[in-house]
Amino acid sequence: MSSARDEILARVRAALSDVPADEPAGAEPPRDYETSSPLSGEELTTRFCERVADYRANVFRTEEGAIPVAIRETLAAHGARRVAVPADLPDEWTAEIPEPVVDHPPLSPEDLDGVDGVLTGAALAIAETGTIVLDGGAQQGRRALSLVPDLHICVVRAESIVGSVPEAVEALTPGAQEGRPLTFISGPSATSDIELRRVEGVHGPRRLEVIVVA
């Protein structure tokens, strides 16, 4: 008996018998679409902040030295005390959390469900679409950490903001080739399933706070 694999591949090959044998696979498509954004520097940051705000996430612009203040104020605004953090967050950030809960050793899903929020960094951000991308790298922790708590506070550095989706994909490629898991986040979780009325927050964090550091 032939295996399902062999049979499917044989069926695929038979079905494609009209494709010339010398036609190479993996031909590059024309890439004459925009691969880089015309925006730069401050414009990128401004565009990113606008686009994030469009998704009804809160954006807080600040400077390097004022990150702890921004964290403190954001936590206070949500009344968040017990906040989960990845193990490699800077001490000055963690110091602002009334009861930091470090994901080391890894917290159980129930533990994560019991905290008030989570504080992470990001791999990069996309100005055009107002998207934050996490790749499990520095200051981001594993995926469950930034998923289960109801409030996600994410610190995005201005120098990590790229203009367009193609620029983001290019920057993420080395990590992706190593098999890093990627999460693209554009605003809080949302549904329009009931009469097309948008409701923010179903299963992912219902509130997203972005602290942009220029």
């Binding site: 591949l9 993996g26 024309p30 098999g179 097309l196 299963h203």
Partner: protein, 468 residues
């Protein structure tokens, strides 16, 4: 979810009578259409992106065997296990086996058309395993024992009062208003306990990258993230046509899909994972590559373009036929223009011979399709195939018979004039308020799907002859 095999004209007539469905549907399609147009006009390179999208998918499909083998290699290298399933039953068996290995009689599930297509939930139920839908709309449909009416917003035919009653009854929540926010909260609480405890999840995928083995799910609610992150094991059932050659191709698809689908610059969440990541997410990953009729579609050099579809649902939202009949009339989980070209090919033309006629060939679907599938061309091609193939199997298509009779009449001026005279006399019992809605005998096929103008009292030819 299984559909009774009523042909499109019969089912459409029934659905047309449902005004709730039509009002909701029109609101949905209009809203999404407007949003889409706004975000598409923001991108000056939209047409170039579409062309790139088309070429990427065309290459993926024309060299599917090579890309699939490469995908298998990449996923295996990254610690995933690749399975191949000829049909739905094989795919269901793989899921059931993984669930049993984890001692679970439940699996959590993120909305996926491929799993709906193979009726995974029913198949698992037959093996003593309960599949829990985690998408809000899918949960509503599952609890109501209902059928999806739109790829993107499957419960659009239900209004909030109905949903409240459903949640009260099925989830045992007494104090509940019909405020969408509150209804969503009930779903959140019910499903959260499942996310935290059920050890096996099932997903589909929007793409699988041959080069790196990356698999991706594009979603809004976060239930997809939950399913691909929290359980011990993840099984992704992916149609073989979902393969993309290179990681870089995501830069095209991640622009085309959200803008075409929900009309957003980007959907709230996209998860991309590659095999297994130590210490992060499921430590067991199964990728099931599903055929289930796709190789039949592939064998038709014109029809195979239907496999380029990225399931954005933009063609549904612009289709005048879909807007009036709704998704149920297509009797398939793939409704609208894409359903009209995909369903007959996946199931076999003889199973859905009327679907290629469920269109006015206005071309709006082609205009919006992010990967430029020429849907009208495929419809016409499939109509031809139905007439040739289904008819030759001794099941004459009524319209084809009517057309042939008509062609014989048109071929001779004498026969044409005679037919007109006979028709004028014969039609009087048929015409109602200036329209013929039902022709007799083999000609009934023509009016089964359209009304017809009666022959006028005096034809142009008769008028001309009189004046000479």
């Amino acid at each position: 979810m299984s559909f009774e095999p009523a042909p499109f004209p019969v089912a459409a007539r029934r659905e047309l009578a449902d005004s709730q469905l039509r009002v909701n549907l029109r609101r949905a399609t209009t809203t999404i259409r407007t949003k889409r147009a706004a975000v598409v006009s923001e991108l000056p390179d939209w047409e170039r992106l579409r062309e790139a999208g088309r070429r990427i998918k065309a290459d993926a499909i024309r060299h599917l065997d090579e890309h699939l083998e490469r995908l298998e290699e990449s996923v295996t290298r990254a610690g995933g296990k690749v399975h191949w399933a000829r049909d739905g039953a094989e795919a269901i068996e793989i899921v059931a086996r993984v669930a049993r290995e984890h001692g679970s009689d439940e699996v959590i599930k993120v909305k996926s058309l491929a799993t709906d297509e193979i009726e995974l939930n029913e198949g698992l139920a037959g093996r003593g395993i309960r599949a829990i839908e985690t998408d809000l709309a899918e949960l509503i449909i599952q609890l109501a024992n209902d059928q999806s009416s739109h790829i993107l917003v499957p419960a659009i035919h239900r209004n909030r009062a109905e949903i409240r009653e459903l949640f009260r009854r099925e989830l045992g929540v007494d104090e509940l208003t019909d405020e969408p926010r509150e209804l969503a909260e009930v779903a959140r609480r019910y499903l959260r306990s499942k996310f935290l405890s059920v050890p096996v999840a099932v997903s589909g995928a929007n793409f699988a990258v041959a080069e790196t083995g990356a698999v991706g799910v594009v979603e809004s609610e976060g239930n997809g993230r939950m399913c691909v992150t929290l359980p011990r094991a993840l099984v992704s059932i992916v149609g073989i046509e979902k393969v993309l050659p290179r990681f870089r191709d995501l830069e095209v698809m991640l622009q085309l899909l959200p803008r075409s689908s929900t009309g957003e610059r980007m959907n709230p969440y996209t998860s991309v994972w590659t095999g297994v990541t130590p210490g992060d997410g499921p430590q067991e990953f199964h990728l099931v590559l599903l055929d289930n009729g796709r190789t039949n579609v592939l064998a038709d050099p014109i029809g195979r373009d239907a496999l380029h579809c990225i399931r954005c649902s933009a063609c549904l939202n612009v289709c005048p036929v879909y807007e009036r009949t709704g998704g149920h009339a297509y009797r398939s989980i793939y409704p609208g223009p894409i359903g009209a070209i995909l369903t007959p090919q996946l199931r076999g033309l003889e199973q859905a011979p009327t679907l290629p006629w469920a269109s006015s060939l206005c071309g709006a679907c082609y205009e919006v399709c992010p990967v430029k599938i020429d849907i009208p061309r495929l419809l016409v091609h499939l109509r031809g195939r139905v007439v040739r193939e289904v008819e030759s199997q001794g099941r004459p298509d009524p319209e084809a018979v009517a057309m042939r009779a008509f062609a014989r009449i048109l071929a001779s001026p004498r026969r044409y004039r005679a037919a007109q005279r006979a028709g004028r006399i014969g039609q009087w019992p048929l015409a109602r308020r200036g329209m013929i809605r039902k022709l007799p005998g083999p000609l009934a096929g023509w009016t089964a799907v359209r009304d017809m103008k009666p022959i006028p009292r005096q034809t142009f030819r008769e008028w001309w002859e009189e004046r000479r």
